[in-house]
C-alpha cells in the first residue's frame, strides 16, 4: 500500500454510475495526472477525495491509515480534519471576491488558528478564576498573535512563490485569470495539504495565460499532487504516473511513457489521437 491508496470508489448520480470501482495508489511526493474525455468521472473523483461529494462506496487510506470510509459517518469536526489532508484548486478559481490576494490566502489559516488556540485554552480557562484567568486570556491573545504573524509570513512567502508579491493587496477583479489561479494555488498551499488536487487548472484560461500557471505547478515537484488536465504535453512532462479515465472506469494506467507512447487500449489510442488533432488545429 502506497502513501495514498484509494479503494473501490463508486458513485451514482440519479441512477447514472459516474464512478465504477475506482482503485489506485500514489507514492508520497509523486505527481499523478488524470486524463480522459469530459464526463468520464475525473472531476467527481477529485470532489470525492476532497469530501465535496460522498462516494456511495469506497475507502481512502493515507500514510497506511484508514482516512475515510464511505460507509462510516463522521462528525462535522472529524470531516473537517480529514478534509484538511487534501487541497483542491478549482477550474474556475473561486477566489473570494471581497478579499485581497493576501486575505484570500490568510482567511482559512487565521480562522483555523483561532479555533485551535481557543480549543487549547478552553479547559484551562474554565478552571482558572480571577487574575489567573485574566493572565490566561492575555496568553491566549499572545499565542494567537504569534500564530497569525506566522501565517502572514507564510502567506507572503507563498505569494512570492507564485510570483505575485506585488499583487498582495489587489482584489481578484483586478487580477488576470492566470494571476487569480496562482493566488488560488497559494491559498490551497497555505494549509499544507498532504495531497493537493488540481481540477483542470488551466481550462478556464486564455491560452496565453496557461503557461504562467503551469510553471507554478511545475515548481511544486516534490509534493504529492493529483492533476486532472487536458494539457497532454504538460501531463507527459510533469507526471510520474498517468491514469486514463473514461465512462467512470480507469481504462489504462502507467508511466507517462507507457500511456502516451505505448497505449494498449483502443479507447486510449482514440482519445490521444483526438487530442493530438485538436492540438494541431
Amino acid at each position: 500500500m502506497e502513501f495514498l491508496h484509494v479503494e473501490g470508489f463508486r458513485k451514482q448520480f440519479a441512477g447514472t454510475e459516474v464512478l465504477k470501482d475506482i482503485n489506485f495508489d500514489l507514492p508520497k511526493g509523486k505527481i499523478l495526472a488524470i486524463i480522459g474525455p469530459s464526463g468520464g468521472g475525473k472531476t467527481t473523483l477529485l470532489r470525492c477525495l476532497n469530501f465535496l461529494e460522498t462516494p456511495d462506496e469506497g475507502k481512502v487510506f493515507l500514510d497506511g491509515e484508514l482516512l475515510s470510509d464511505a460507509k462510516a459517518t463522521y462528525s462535522q469536526k472529524e470531516r473537517r480534519e480529514k478534509q484538511l489532508k487534501f487541497g483542491l484548486v478549482f477550474q474556475s478559481f473561486h477566489l473570494f471576491p471581497h478579499l485581497t490576494a493576501i486575505e484570500n490566502i490568510l482567511l482559512a489559516p487565521d480562522l483555523l488558528a483561532k479555533d485551535r488556540v481557543k480549543e487549547q485554552f478552553k479547559e484551562r480557562k474554565k478552571a482558572a478564576k480571577g487574575p489567573a484567568r485574566k493572565a490566561l486570556k492575555k496568553e491566549e491573545k499572545q499565542a494567537l498573535k504569534e500564530l497569525s504573524a506566522e501565517n502572514k509570513r507564510h502567506a507572503e512567502e507563498l505569494l512570492g512563490q507564485v510570483g505575485l508579491s506585488e499583487k498582495r493587496d489587489s482584489y481578484p477583479s483586478q487580477l488576470s485569470g492566470g494571476q487569480q489561479q496562482r493566488v488560488a494555488i497559494a491559498r490551497a498551499l497555505a494549509l499544507s495539504p498532504e495531497v493537493l488536487c488540481f481540477d483542470e487548472p488551466t481550462s478556464a484560461l486564455d491560452p496565453e495565460l496557461t503557461g504562467e500557471v503551469l510553471k507554478v505547478i511545475r515548481a511544486l515537484k516534490g509534493r504529492t499532487l493529483i492533476i486532472v488536465t487536458h494539457e497532454m504535453a504538460f501531463a507527459r512532462e510533469v507526471a510520474d504516473y498517468v491514469l486514463f479515465m473514461t465512462d467512470g472506469v480507469i481504462e489504462e494506467r502507467g508511466t507517462p511513457e507507457e500511456v502516451f507512447l505505448h497505449p494498449q487500449k483502443e479507447k486510449t489510442k482514440a482519445f490521444l489521437k483526438h487530442m493530438e488533432e485538436y492540438h494541431d488545429e
Partner: protein, 215 residues
C-alpha cells in the same frame, strides 16, 4: 405662524411613532428574516414547508388585515388580553417584513455561486465560518438594492398603524382634517420625503462602500 409651528410640533410627535415603528421593525425583522430564510431553505422538510406556508400567508394577505388580526384576534378568539396597540403594530410589521426580507435573502443566498461555499469547505472552514466570512458579505452586496426598496416601502407602510389607532403622523394630520384644517395632511409629505431622502443617501453610500466587491 404659531398655527404652523403648533401643527409642526404635533406632526413631529406623530412622526416619532412613525420612526419608532420603522426602527423596531428593522431591528427585529432583519435577523428574523434570516431565520425564516434558513428555515425555508432547510433540508428538514416539515420545517421548510412550515416556513414557506407562513411566508405565503403573510405575503398573500394585506398587512392591514394582519394588523387587525394580531391586535383584536387573541381577544376575540380566545379571550386573551393580547398586545397593546404599539407592540401589536410592531409585531405585525416585524412578521410581515421578516417574510418579505426572507425572500430577498433567499434570492441573495442562491445567487452566491456554490463554488464560493465549496472553496471555503475544502479549506476546512465550518459552515458558520463559511456563512459569516464568505457568503454574508457577498449576500449583502447582492441584496442592498432590493432591500433599499423594501425599507423605503416600510417608511410609508407605517401609516397603516392608524387602522388600530396608533397616532402616527398621518393620523395626527387626519385629526386636523376632521376639525376642518386640511393642509397638515399634505404637509406630512414633507416629513416622508425628508426621511426617505436621508435613507436614499444612506443606501447609496452603502452601495458605494461595497463597490470594491465585483461579482
Amino acid at each position: 405662524m404659531t398655527a404652523f409651528w403648533n401643527v409642526t410640533l404635533a406632526l413631529l410627535e406623530g412622526f416619532g411613532s412613525t420612526c419608532l415603528i420603522f426602527a423596531a421593525t428593522l431591528v427585529f425583522a432583519i435577523p428574523l428574516g434570516l431565520l425564516v430564510t434558513f428555515g425555508s431553505m432547510s433540508r428538514f422538510r416539515p420545517l421548510k414547508w412550515l416556513m414557506r406556508t407562513i411566508v405565503w400567508v403573510v405575503r398573500g394577505t394585506p398587512l392591514m388585515l394582519q394588523l387587525i388580526a394580531i391586535f383584536y384576534g387573541p381577544a376575540l378568539l380566545f379571550g386573551i388580553d393580547g398586545l397593546d396597540r404599539v407592540p401589536a403594530v410592531i409585531v405585525a410589521f416585524v412578521i410581515n417584513y421578516a417574510c418579505y426580507f426572507s425572500e430577498i435573502y433567499r434570492a441573495g443566498i442562491e445567487g452566491v455561486p456554490r463554488g464560493q461555499a465549496e472553496a471555503g469547505q475544502v479549506l476546512g472552514l465550518k459552515k458558520s465560518q463559511v456563512f459569516f466570512h464568505i457568503t454574508l458579505i457577498q449576500l449583502i452586496k447582492r441584496i442592498v438594492p432590493p432591500m433599499s426598496n423594501e425599507i423605503i416601502t416600510l417608511v410609508k407602510d407605517t401609516s397603516l398603524a392608524r387602522i388600530i389607532s396608533v397616532t402616527e403622523i398621518i393620523l395626527v394630520a387626519q385629526e386636523y382634517t376632521r376639525q376642518g384644517l386640511i393642509w397638515p395632511l399634505f404637509y406630512t409629505g414633507v416629513f416622508y420625503l425628508l426621511f426617505v431622502g436621508v435613507l436614499t443617501l444612506l443606501f447609496r453610500y452603502t452601495e458605494k462602500k461595497l463597490e470594491y466587491i465585483k461579482i
